[in-house]
Amino acid sequence: MSMWRQFGPLALGAILGLASPAGAVEGTRAFFPALEAERGRLVINGATDIEAMEPLIRDFQETARDVAIDYTDYVTNDLYRDADIACRLQQLFGDLLLSSSVDQLVKLANDGCALAHVSPATRGVPAWANWRDEVFGFTFEPSVMVYHKDFVPPEDVPHTHGELTDLLRFKPDYYRGRIGTYDLRQSGIGYLLAFLDAQQASTTYGRLLESLSRAQAVLRCCNNAVLSELDSGNVYIGYNILGSYAYAAARRNDKLRIVLPRDYTLILSRGALIPVGAKRRDLAGRFLDYLLSERGQDMARREAFFFSRGGALPAEVDGPAKLVESGIGRPIRIGPALLAAQDRLQRSRFIEDWTKLIVDTPVRLRPN
């Protein structure tokens, strides 16, 4: 619950704890009153922790003092489902959608559920993080491995996907039930990262999946759930965790260490989209411009997401010095290629295969 300690004073809606079950239909809602007399209210529906968004929202309100912000946090799949339904029925569903599962936002845009937004700020966005001026990537978040220093000896620390596979092969008993990762069935971003892993290196991915299966990986809905297991020492290594959450956790617990895989590191850019029904698209555009602006990016690097496109890696993160230039960092291009991930047959087959391997494999041994 410690993660929510800063949240109390501003929360209006229900506050869900870290351990609360994923897939909660109703999101966590927070209201940020305007600093001056309210002249506009921006409704944001996000699949991004309020904790990460709060500094950005507060800083934005410094520039727009008469704007109140109503923020609701969803799980990615729920956000997509609700947005999709609202689009089909031409209903209102917030003024701005934020989601780490950009493939879902691309699908929404492809289905004609997005409004284009063009401004000086959007012109500075690199092509890979902008599709049709409708979906914008506003963060830079490597997918990382996190380990607990007390339980993983230095010689065990994996630096590539292959090393993680080998580690689980060589020390299966020690790590059984000690590897945490996403539950693809519940997490859109988990599915996306796994899908892209399978595409980046299908053989490595197959072997890794097999190892994870044998190691009885601990499956959680969300980043923070995995991180809290790490925090408490139940899980030794977390796989495919978004760097921003991992870094935030590591700041609170210095036993947690972050490794950027050196064979390849997927880099996610959290997406923002203005839905077709937006009532205050002007405010949504302003907030989006803020997120993309230098001030917003700077604030995100310092307080919210800790990694940035141009800047160096944060201190104490183990990874290649030049992430993108070295070719190791592979930004996920926001574009129609992500539609393949969103194909329903593909998705169900992929998750089915994964479930068969990871979940339905008979348990031979329970850890502890």
């Binding site: 574009g335 129609p336 194909d343 047959l345």
Partner: protein, 461 residues
């Protein structure tokens, strides 16, 4: 409102411009059509490639048709950066396997069995280009045709077509402007002979009715021919008229002489004052008529001689003296001082002595009739290569604005009284025949002077 002047130049330019505009519009339309076809062709390949990739990824597993959608297929379509993608995979039973269930193109998918089908239609209110590709499945447990319907919005196609078209239109525009500029130059150049012809006609002497002989393009020949034909007829008319006048004058002279004699014989002693005055007027008029008839004859003679007599060197001083003597009557008013001043040496000109004497006589006569009050001076002199005969008198002279008129026929500054002045007309006629002029010097400090100005005779010319 001013009536608009029609211009050959503007007519041609306007019509050529119209044709060019029409042509440019036609070419632009063609360019747009081809650009669209080219853009469609280019992007259709992507669409087809993506659809084929998907069909290639169809698998039959335990009697179930499955398909993996390769990301590369979408990446291929993603080359059209801003376009949205819709697809639908249809199994042999007609059910939608995956994709957009409502992507119904209205086309019979079975038509795709022989080859890919392309069509342009609308889906979700946006124009899309659709490709339908088939694949025959021949698994023992499962056979039939499966189809992939791949649709893509047309933003990139339209953008490419628009770009190609606008480039082509720029070229067409430049070509049209060049063509128009070329046409303007060509028309200007072609119309130059017309201007030249006009200039030649304008520069002509009014008396000159000989055929126009200028270097003209073939197209202007009929025009020049008509002008020449007209001038020939005019020339004939003028000749006829002159002959008629000469004949008439000659015919009139005989009865006039008789009339003159008869009038002279009339005794006026027994007439009262009133009748005497009338008789005096009749005498005046008869003598005027006689003079005019003489002038007409003289004019006819001068014209005749200018056409028929060969010029030879003659002494202008000699001729002037003879003219002076024959013209100034012995009975001249004693108050008038007349003088003749010859050049120190002979002044030779190439010409006809008879015509020249007639001309000088007429000028002197004119001065006596209309000008002289107390002084008449005739001088012959040479100035550079010109021979000049000057007739000066102290009369009122002729105002400068009438100078050009008096050398024309039947014009006099004194209309109604005295004679109709044919004198200067005769003099001018002779001067022109001798490549000279009749000039006037305004009455200023000196007397009003009429100058007959003829080039000097030069050995060898």
């Amino acid at each position: 409102m001013k009536r608009r002047e029609t211009s050959l130049f503007w007519r041609l330019v306007l019509r050529v411009a119209l044709v060019l505009c029409g042509g440019a519009a036609l070419l632009s339309a063609a360019a747009w059509y081809y650009a669209r076809a080219a853009a469609d062709d280019a992007y259709d390949r992507l669409l087809l490639g993506a659809a084929i990739q998907i069909t290639a990824n169809m698998t039959v597993d335990a009697g179930n048709l499955g398909v993996t959608l390769p990301s590369s297929a979408f990446e291929l379509l993603g080359l059209a950066e801003r376009d949205r993608i819709f697809y639908r995979v249809v199994g042999p039973d007609g059910r939608t396997l995956t994709g957009y269930d409502d992507l119904d193109t209205g086309v019979d998918v079975t038509a795709a069995r022989t080859g890919p089908v392309f069509l342009t239609t609308e889906y979700r209110n946006v124009p899309v280009r659709v490709a339908v590709v088939s694949r025959a499945l021949s698994d023992p447990s499962f056979s039939g045709w499966a189809y992939v319907v791949m649709a893509q919005t047309t933003e990139a196609r339209r953008a490419l077509a628009g770009e190609l078209t606008s480039r082509a239109m720029i070229l067409v525009g430049i070509m049209s402007l060049l063509a128009l500029a070329g046409t303007v130059l060509a028309i200007r150049y072609s119309l130059l002979p017309v201007d030249a012809l006009a200039a030649a006609l304008r520069a002509r002497d009014p008396q000159d009715l000989t055929p126009v002989d200028a270097d003209m393009p073939r197209e202007l020949k009929p025009f020049v021919g008509s002008i020449n034909h007209f001038m020939g007829r005019l020339d004939e008319r003028v000749t006829l008229l002159q002959r008629f006048i000469a004949d008439a004058a000659h015919q009139i002279r005989t009865p006039l002489t008789a009339l003159s004699a008869q009038v002279d014989m009339l005794e006026d002693d027994d007439l009262d004052v009133n009748r005497k005055r009338h008789l005096g007027r009749v005498r005046d008029r008869v003598s005027q008529l006689a003079r005019l008839t003489n002038q007409l004859l003289s004019h006819a003679m001068v014209i005749h001689r200018s056409d028929s007599v060969r010029f030879k060197p003659v002494d202008l001083g000699d001729i002037a003296r003879k003219a002076f003597r024959s013209t100034v009557p012995i009975t001249v008013d004693p108050d008038v001082v007349v003088s003749f001043e010859d050049s120190a040496e002979p002044v030779f000109v190439r010409g006809d002595a008879v015509s020249l004497r007639e001309a000088i006589a007429n000028i002197i006569d004119n001065a006596l009739q209309h000008g002289v009050e107390q002084r008449l001076a005739v001088r012959v002199r040479r100035e550079d290569d010109r021979a000049l005969v000057e007739v000066a008198d102290d009369g009122p002279g002729i105002p400068p604005d009438e100078w050009s008129a008096v050398t024309a026929r039947f014009v006099s500054t004194k209309t109604g009284e005295g004679s109709m002045g044919l004198g200067f007309a005769i003099a001018a006629e002779v001067a022109v025949a001798h490549r000279g002029t009749v000039r006037f010097l305004e009455k200023g400090e000196g007397d009003f002077t009429v100058v007959l100005d003829i080039p000097l005779y030069q050995e060898g010319t």
